[in-house]
Assembly symmetry: C2
Homo-oligomer: 101 residues x 2
DNA sequence: GGTATATTTGTCAATACTTGACAAGTCAAT
DNA sequence: ATTGACTTGTCAAGTATTGACAAATATACC
């Protein structure tokens, strides 16, 4: 389980019976790139997520959450203190969100 | 509140009555760099954290957690779905940690 | 005012990292 | 052994980050 985003879009693509060769051009990339994205070797650009959501007929938000989660995971994946760091970060986010109201 | 790490080390440095000019050379950087790190404009290198913890007579883990939290925060700071993404990431971390046992 | 010390800000070349593009590879089906 | 789908490797080009320095600002003291 290397990339939740990648796994998800592969599942969705297969569900739609689409080949890499069909999807890649819509994102203006080659199949090699898209293959790597699905495998989690490379990251898709944030701006491409809505396009992909359309193609795969799924919610943009669902994909964005998974994509962000992958980025977050990347930061702390080998850290003993991952959970603690996440808690601190979360606290800060909640603080900011409260302010925005 | 731009960088929890930066704020913390500034507080600690001041508590020790140290000047940037005194601390910076110990980290092999100039005061300008360290100033930016304290302000959260730039990031310190992970490997420098233990050195800094020694200088500031604090726990390496405390600083590392704050530093990681800053990196995490950076990923999702402008995201409506920040909290959701954090939850997904956390779930994955817990899953992996359980496996490691 | 002027000087000194501490910190901050701006700039920019050097370095490091990521991406795009292509070629060559594997794998499965026929 | 050919075809189609996908994967992997490589590397130049494009981006981003860092290190180093100069200059600016801030504060305190005389």
């Amino acid at each position: 389980m290397n990339s939740q985003f990648g796994e998800r879009i592969r599942t969705l693509r297969e569900k739609q019976n689409l080949y890499l060769r069909q999807v890649a051009p819509l994102l203006e990339m080659d199949t090699a790139q898209l293959s790597k994205i699905e495998k989690g070797v490379r990251q898709i650009k944030k701006e491409q997520i809505p396009i992909l959501a359309d193609i795969l007929k799924t919610e943009k938000d669902e994909l964005l959450i998974l994509w962000l989660a992958d980025q977050l995971y990347d930061v702390v994946k080998d850290e003993k203190l991952a959970t603690e760091a996440m808690q601190v970060a979360e606290k800060k986010i909640n603080l900011i969100n409260r302010k925005k109201k």
